[in-house]
């Protein structure tokens, strides 16, 4: 794909921004200022970025516990993200959500669950509500390959297809569920399986191909908007870091550094040093200000403990 255009630079900038935010989290993590399990998207940023580029603000995106990338790509405010991670009152969820339950309904990011697959059906229900009211919005559920093993995933595909609901299902296939490989978990392939529910599918073979991925989401979301039918996109990608936490994990014996390097050698955020250099100062400045906001924000207190229960 042609790289010297503004769309590529936009994808690059937004992906780099997410990566630098998460690298900041890694840097801060040993200080224990962030006391929340973090599931980093490093290596997978472009999926969120190219997807959200084709969503309108009132198209709802139902995310999951590996949610920093989607939260940011959908327009979530960065200072409030760091405040949320710090457990501060100025986080969008007042520190009650932390990293695993990010949400930003003002920008159409719906709450993340830490129970794998458990918000897929929420996207389907929200789509049904809009269909009943005759709205032209669309709804997206994004999840990992592990989520496709949940019964609720199958139930949701069936219902969405049966009722002609405008839902895009996005499977980020990083071939790992925590530390368990696809071969140990799946007897099926995601796209042909989804087609059995009469759902059209697209396959993104490489998340490092930003423009290719953007084109797939453009077409897939176009189908959902026009046909008012569910569509599924599966994107192959790579989780560079450990399942949860700030560390590497190729030295733990279940995956090799070489396998990760196969992705890194084609990763634009690593190899396109000119753009990295061009964008980094501005992004770092934004991040520093966001961290400062989190640092200087108050903690929630006893008045917050029992608010919003019932």
């Amino acid at each position: 794909m042609e790289k010297n255009n503004s769309t590529y630079e936009k994808y690059f900038y937004e992906s780099l921004r997410i990566r630098l935010v998460e690298e900041k989290i890694i840097e801060l993590y040993p200080s224990d200022k962030i006391q929340s399990p973090v599931h980093l998207s490093i290596g997978q940023e472009s999926v969120a970025v190219t997807l959200c580029d084709h969503l309108k603000k009132n198209d709802w995106l139902f995310i999951n516990y590996r949610g920093h990338a989607c939260y940011l790509a959908k327009g979530g405010p960065l200072p409030e993200l760091f405040a949320e991670l710090y457990g501060k009152k100025t986080g969008l969820s007042k520190g009650k959500a932390g990293s695993m339950h990010l949400a930003d309904p003002a920008n159409g990011t719906m709450g993340a669950s830490a129970v794998v697959g458990s918000t897929i059906s929420h996207a389907v229900g929200a789509a049904l509500a809009s269909k009943i009211r005759g709205e032209d919005r669309i709804f997206v559920s994004i999840f990992g390959d592990g989520a496709t093993e949940q019964g609720v995933y199958h139930e949701s595909l069936n219902f969405a297809s049966l009722h002609n609901l405008p839902v895009l299902f996005v499977c980020e296939n990083n071939e790992l569920a925590v530390h368990t490989t696809l071969e140990e978990r799946q007897s099926y392939s995601v796209t042909p399986h989804a087609e059995q529910y009469n759902i059209k599918t697209f396959k993104g073979k490489d998340s490092t191909d930003f423009m290719g991925l953007g084109a797939i989401f453009s077409e897939a979301l176009g189908e959902v908007r026009v046909n008012r039918r569910p569509v599924l996109v599966e994107v192959y990608t790579c989780r560079y870091k450990e399942h949860v936490g700030p560390g590497e994990d190729y030295d733990n014996g279940y995956r090799s550094e070489a396998d990760i390097n196969k992705w890194k050698i084609k990763d634009p955020l690593i190899i396109d040093k000119i753009l990295v250099e061009k964008f980094t100062p501005k992004i770092k400045d934004e991040i520093d200000k966001a961290v400062e906001f989190a640092e200087s924000s108050p903690y929630p207190n006893i008045d917050d403990l029992l608010s919003d229960v019932v």
Binding site: S93, V115, I132
Partner: protein, 347 residues
């Protein structure tokens, strides 16, 4: 309310039909658009409100999540489960998601929605068609859990849930009561439709009862009244938020407490009511607390065993006598099904 008679089932039917008048309300479940329409309680609604009454696949987990999504997007879904036992399949959505949506996201979302769960009993409902799961859910912050014991309570609390309450509500209906006809004899409507209420005032013994056990308690109270004993019957109604003051003040007055629940006793309603008394002032008790519930086993199918499995009016009278150290002639042992004679199989 007038003094006209109404069946429990008719109240449910009316509650559903009233709820559907609001264009945001939906009903989703299994067997709600067929010719039986959940024992008539949803009959005709899918024709009257096309698109808003949805017969679902056998996908309880997804459907509960779909209801959450509907609620997030401005609808008011009512999700039906013709047996509470099937409702166990939605516990992930109910406990991990619905109950926590408001708190976990710091107040960014509300999920007003309603789950109807029906408790089965008798005609061999057996181990998986008869469970009373209220205590499991009463344990979870964020849920309102109710057990209406008469048509008036049904109408009040369903109206309130649908029109006013901004969070998830679980209502346990009792199948054995569906065909029972009630007179509207509650003099005052409860100020809070989700609150506990006194069904019958008395001075000698307090019985706190749930669902159909409130009926049994009233029947026992009637019997005991003829023996000169005045029982105060509290219909607990709210499992999640029992009225502590109401219960404590009653026990303070009578000094004697029997808790009659539809479920198992350990970690259940009786334990919670006992905690309320113990935590406030156990010295008001003149006798140790008695509790009645199902026997500590899964429910057997054989009628001979089932009749032994559930407590009935005779057990209540016997416990009241023991609380008062009195010798009272007990009513004959008669199973609730035989007494009410309304619930015949197969379902």
């Amino acid at each position: 309310m007038t003094d006209k008679k109404m069946k429990y089932r008719e109240a449910l039917t009316l509650a559903m039909s009233e709820a559907m008048e609001d264009s945001r309300t939906m009903i989703l479940g299994q067997g709600i658009t067929d010719f039986k329409g959940m024992w008539g309680t949803t009959l005709g609604l899918s024709q009257k409100h096309p698109g808003r009454v949805i017969e679902t696949p056998l996908s309880e987990d997804a459907v509960a999540g779909i209801c959450i999504g509907l609620s997030l997007n401005g609808m008011y879904p009512i999700n039906t489960h013709i047996r509470a036992d099937f409702g166990l399949l939605i516990f992930n959505q109910l406990i991990n998601l619905a109950s926590k949506y408001r708190y976990m996201f710091g107040g960014l979302f509300e999920v007003p929605l309603l789950f109807r769960m029906v408790i089965g009993r008798s005609w061999g409902q057996g181990a998986q068609h008869s469970q009373s799961l209220q205590s499991l859910l009463g344990h979870i912050p964020g849920l309102v859990v109710l057990m209406p014991s008469n048509p008036q309570s049904v109408l009040q609390c369903y109206r309130h849930a649908v029109k006013k309450h901004r969070g998830p509500v679980v209502i346990f209906e009792h199948r054995l009561m569906y065909e029972l006809e009630f007179e509207h004899n509650q003099k005052i409507e409860s100020a809070n439709p989700f609150d506990s209420r006194i069904d019958r005032p008395g001075k000698d013994v307090t019985i706190v009862a749930t669902s159909i056990m409130a009926l049994e308690a009233s029947r026992a109270a009637e019997y005991l009244s003829k023996k000169g004993i005045e029982v105060e019957v509290i219909d607990l109604h709210s499992i999640s938020n029992p009225n502590h003051e109401l219960i404590f003040n009653s026990v303070k007055k009578t000094g004697r407490l029997l808790v009659a629940d539809t479920s198992w006793i350990p970690y259940g309603v009786a334990a919670e009511i006992s905690r309320i008394i113990a935590g406030k002032d156990p010295s008001v008790l003149k006798k140790p607390i008695k509790s009645l519930g199902m026997q500590p086993a899964p429910c057997p199918t054989a009628k001979a065993l089932e009749d032994l499995y559930y407590p009935d009016v005779r057990d209540i009278v016997s416990d009241v006598a023991s609380l008062l150290d009195k010798d009272i002639e007990l009513p004959p042992k008669q199973s609730m099904t035989d007494f009410y004679k309304h619930f015949k199989g197969p379902f």
